[in-house]
Symmetry: none
Subunit: 191 residues, 4 copies
């Protein structure tokens, strides 16, 4: 693999995302290339193989998602306000990118991809981890395992985004406010 035309890679990525959202993780390459309008052959010019491509796509989407989640989240805000910002950013981003959400859910729960998933270390994730650890050490939030805190916050947010995408709830600002508070209450420490 030499240097690749990133623009074409983006086009392929987008088509893959659409295909996986439609047909699941095992969407055939034939469907993907049809969706993107390219030929089968050129796919392998830009990616080593299907597996690697999906992994690269995952990394990229995760990076973009994390970046969007942390947007405008200044450390000068109170802990809660930072939390609120991140939560709302995340949910809004996922609602605006439904295929990304579907892909995350697929990829992160596919047992056959578990080894791949374990080997992926998204750098930006550390910002979240540090944020949570800080909250715990400063006695602001409960001293629960990281993954539990994450599930009670981002996890719940993802579920809500999914519900909104599926049309089973309407995520207006009222509900959003309710939910972010509920999520916060589930992890904050009461005095």
């Amino acid at each position: 693999m030499t240097i690749k035309n990133d623009n074409k890679r983006e086009i392929i990525f987008e088509a893959v995302l659409v295909s996986i959202a439609k047909y699941g993780l095992n969407a055939p390459i034939s469907k993907m290339v049809k969706e993107s309008g390219i030929s089968t052959g050129i796919f392998y010019h830009y990616f080593d193989n299907k597996e690697m491509m999906i992994e690269e796509l995952y990394k990229k989407l995760k990076y973009d998602f994390l970046e969007a989640s942390l947007c405008d989240c200044d450390k000068k805000y109170t802990y809660y306000n930072q939390f609120r910002k991140i939560w709302i950013n995340s949910v809004k981003y996922l609602v605006a990118h439904p295929n990304t959400l579907k892909f995350f859910w697929q990829f992160e729960n596919a047992p056959q991809l578990a080894p791949q998933l374990d080997a992926i270390h998204t750098e930006k994730i550390n910002i979240f981890v540090d944020f949570i650890k800080k909250g715990i050490s400063e006695g602001i939030i409960k001293d629960l395992p990281l993954i539990v805190i994450s599930d009670l916050t981002i996890g719940v947010g993802m579920q809500m985004a999914k519900n909104a995408i599926n049309g089973v709830i309407t995520l207006d600002s009222d509900l959003m406010e309710d939910l972010v508070v509920t999520s916060w209450d589930s992890i904050r420490k009461y005095n």
Copy 2:
């Protein structure tokens, strides 16, 4: 299709569950029959095709799961105690049946299976729905969409079971108590 030997069906189901937990939803029939020790041919004697079989398995597992969740949950208990019982029953059941949990996650998030999923109406689910509706109408829990209540309770419970299965948390009775209270607090109405 003639009369089905339920015992043989159980054997196949179990093998399918193991295969899907290992290889994902697209586990090939060849792997499933090898796992079960039966022949390919007989598989088609007991099931119409792969798709139908997976759907039947899902229905069965869902039924078993719901049944276990509702066990010992007498209506004479207080609302909270019923909630608590159901939550703990659910989580314990899933931790004890990790392949079932993995299968649920796969099946319920596969876009290609969404039409099938929509067409499935597990009878027992109504008991839950009614339980939640009753809580809302009696002002015990928040007036949120059903799916939101479900995600904040069963959904969180499933995540925790998954974490326990993956070995990232230890679900001892202390953590369990913490979590059931946290889950309850996220839906109960404060006066």
Copy 3:
């Protein structure tokens, strides 16, 4: 791979041999299965993959060839008469099995198959090796490296068989006698 129907394997082997004789070592499986009249799928029921199948075919052909070469070669005959028998057996066998000869030539000279070839140890080959070693130790034939002796005898025989198959020589009994004597003279020790 479980127990296989050997008869069907023979049918496939024969078709493969014909295909390789026609199209070379890289004869596509599509051509092979067309030649044999079977479907693509069943090929993989009898063989793990193309590479393994070709290796198995080679082993089988080599065994058959060596067996035929040693036929009626009693140790009670003089050394020369044994040599003569083997030489003539070999050449006649190859002329009668032209596709086998072509296959040997292809397989044994394909650089990409060299590792495979090195890993194959045909048992019967030891009978030849011992025969040559005995001739050397008893002072009947020259003390040259084994491979040199082999090339001057079997190697030359293979070439002659090839010529006969290609129609560039007619291997009548006169020429055959000439050549076996020539071959013998090239390795025997003169006093």
Copy 4:
């Protein structure tokens, strides 16, 4: 096709030779151009297609080989001395050009290339043919088909070169002398 830059052609030829020695006759063009450092596109500027290129390479290598074989082989020498010179020249050349030898073996034994091979008439080959015919007509060597004489001499020499390349024999001058005499004895006429 316009005028060809012979230097670039040489570079490609060399890379092709290396690739074929490694991967066999079916070495892909992609490997060949990577080996040569040129681009795929330019390959087709210098050659019509893969088949033609390989044929041209074969002709060139054959020419070079024959030229080297005939080097310093003056007609004023005795017949045997000319034979000896040619034999040793040939073997030394092939040992010094192992990839050429491998390529010859591949090309000349590929059934799919047989029609091409038949159509190639290397001019210099006539010098050999005439040399052999002269030997026969003058009663110096046996009256055997040309191809038989060739196999007993050049053919054996090629085998020995191959053995040396493969490291299974050490072609020191002693063994070389032995072999050239053996080869000569196999074709010379005894009085």
